[in-house]
């Protein structure tokens, strides 16, 4: 009996000690940033800028919430909103939505005070198919400060194109340059980094739409390693994205060419000498780009390029066209032409995996 009391007392002491150790930190965190608690939920069909939409409002007890929107556009068709310093509060973990827009909405506290809202949409979640913004409290309407999520029935810039042969395969796409490095610049100022990103994103859409797994070395205008890195650090960081992606089968680097003579023009693809599979993908990409893009074919070449040399998987680097050539700069900056080239590269990847 006495020992039980003793043990109980000891436990209590330990608990107290633990609490004492934790509490001051909690207090500090609270002072830095107050916790948001969700307390309001509503979803209804409405018209937003002339388009039919499902509007979801998620309210909370304080304003200025920090949130981050990500998407899983094709396979899962999910819109994900991460709320920092937020607790689910009064809201239910699951809501059923209007089926013609989205199936469910889930609210989970993934870590302490990190809450995630996940919406399973009906259509691909791409630029233009959804919108998220915060709105201040509206006393008249009895609405607190809230996030407003609009999901549109139609629209978005999704490419509906699909290619055969890529389903179940894993591809790494490397949009050349970016961030502190614009890459080459055309006569009217079009940057290589912006073109390579646009084409790579189109390519990602098509491949994912076709059932492939895609890993991007970058998906916005950033350095992959970080600003002011050395050339080797930056290029190795791109290689590493591929190396650290389990099951990645192919590395495709997208570039625009440049030369001091503005007359120089055309498309070419590269592989690292001694890689038969690198040669295969470089050849297929070359064939498809020639057919779709219609530019002068400079050939399939080998070169001592860092990303194709240091990738352990088959790799190719495609030079879509010369950004330093006025005519080709114009083509490269055209969204339809970018999509055409992306489709061509996707077809080449499909042929590579299906062996024809």
């Amino acid at each position: 009996m006495f020992s039980k009391i003793c043990r109980g007392a000891a436990m209590l002491l330990m608990l107290l000690a633990c609490a004492a150790a934790i509490l001051p930190q909690n207090g500090e965190a609270a002072r830095r940033e107050a916790v948001h608690r969700l307390n309001y939920f509503q979803s209804y069909e409405t018209e937003v800028d002339g388009r039919q939409a499902l509007r979801i409002e998620v309210g909370m007890d304080r304003d200025n919430v920090t949130y981050d929107v990500t998407t899983r556009p094709y396979l899962e068709k999910q819109l994900i909103i991460d709320l920092s310093n937020t607790e689910p509060g009064k809201l239910k973990p699951d809501y059923t939505l209007l089926a013609k827009y989205a199936k469910h909405l889930h609210i989970r506290e993934l870590e302490a005070r990190h809450t995630q809202i996940r919406i399973d949409c009906k259509n691909p979640v791409v630029d233009g198919s959804y919108a998220v913004h915060a709105e201040p409290a509206d006393r008249k309407a009895k609405k607190p400060y809230r996030l407003v999520i609009d999901i549109f029935a139609t629209g978005g810039t999704a490419s509906s194109s699909r290619v055969a042969g890529v389903s179940g395969h894993s591809v790494v796409i490397d949009p050349g340059h970016g961030g502190s490095d614009t890459g080459a610049v055309g006569p009217t100022g079009v940057t290589e980094a912006s073109v390579t990103l646009a084409v790579s994103k189109d390519l990602q859409s098509i491949l994912e739409n076709s059932g492939a797994r895609v890993t991007m070395t970058r998906n916005k205008d950033v350095d992959v390693y970080g600003p002011n890195a050395s050339d080797r650090q930056e290029l190795q960081a791109r290689v590493n994205v591929g190396e650290y992606t389990p099951g990645a089968e192919l590395f495709v680097s997208i570039h625009c060419n440049a030369f001091s003579n503005p007359a120089s023009h055309g498309m070419e693809t590269y592989y690292y000498a001694g890689s038969p599979r690198g040669e295969r993908i470089a050849t297929l990409v070359n064939e498809e780009l020639e057919k779709a893009g219609g530019l002068f074919n400079r050939g399939v070449k080998t070169a001592n390029f860092y990303v194709i040399k240091h990738s352990s998987m088959p790799a190719t680097l495609a030079e879509l066209a010369f950004i330093t050539n006025a005519h080709e700069e114009q083509l490269l900056s055209n969204a339809q032409y970018q999509m055409k080239l992306a489709e061509a590269i996707a077809r080449a990847i499909g042929r590579y995996f299906s062996g024809n």
């Binding site: 080459a184 050339d231 080797r232 440049a258 070449k301 240091h310 680097l317």
Partner: protein
């Protein structure tokens, strides 16, 4: 007695001059005959001749070299045969300075930025280490083709000398990892023969 000495000196000087002239013409002849690296070998014997004729006029050595410039499309490198005058400097330096002068030939393109200057060239154990000023990177147009052609023109001009097997490019004394984010330049590069076909 003094007169004899003077005559003897004069004779020696004439002999030395004749030797030099012979050398020069031979160089030029061979250079045009097979067009390749023999000129470089010839040039090596030239400084020896100069030292033996120290007393006489220091006549600058003529040397035929090949410097490479890309074509207008950046598809290939084209050899530009030039005769340079070695004015005390090494032939590697002369070749690189000649390359940096640029080309005005029809069908050839300058790829190395104009302001670029040579800091040094050293050849050791078959590897030439060539050091340029930072201008090489500053106004460089970039691109896979731009980078390949620039590096190719330097590497192939230097490996034209048969004793040079590889070339390492430095900028302001530091090893270059890449010029515009395509090539891996951290290791010395061998002759880029596929650009010459």
């Amino acid at each position: 007695m003094k007169k004899y000495v003077r005559y003897a000196m004069l004779g020696l000087a004439i002999f030395a001059l004749a030797l030099l002239a012979g050398c020069g013409s031979e160089t030029a002849g061979k250079g045009t005959a097979d067009g390749s690296s023999s000129s470089a070998i010839q040039a090596e014997s030239a400084p020896a001749a100069t030292s033996s004729s120290q007393g006489a006029e220091k006549k600058p050595q003529k040397l035929t070299i090949k410097v490479y410039y890309p074509d207008e499309q950046g598809m290939k490198l084209i050899a530009d045969k030039r005769t340079v005058t070695l004015d005390g400097q090494e032939k590697y330096t002369a070749a690189m300075e000649s390359l940096l002068e640029g080309t005005k030939e029809k069908g050839q393109t300058n790829i190395i930025p104009k302001q670029t200057k040579l800091r040094s060239v050293k050849v050791e154990n078959g590897t030439a280490t060539v050091d340029f000023t930072g201008d090489l990177r500053k106004d460089f147009v970039g691109g896979s083709t731009g980078e390949t052609m620039l590096v190719g023109s330097v590497v192939d001009t230097l490996t034209e000398f048969p004793e040079v097997k590889k070339v390492q490019i430095l900028i302001d004394g530091k090893k270059v990892e890449s010029l515009s984010g395509h090539m891996d330049l951290s290791q010395p590069m061998g002759r880029m023969a596929d650009l010459l076909k």
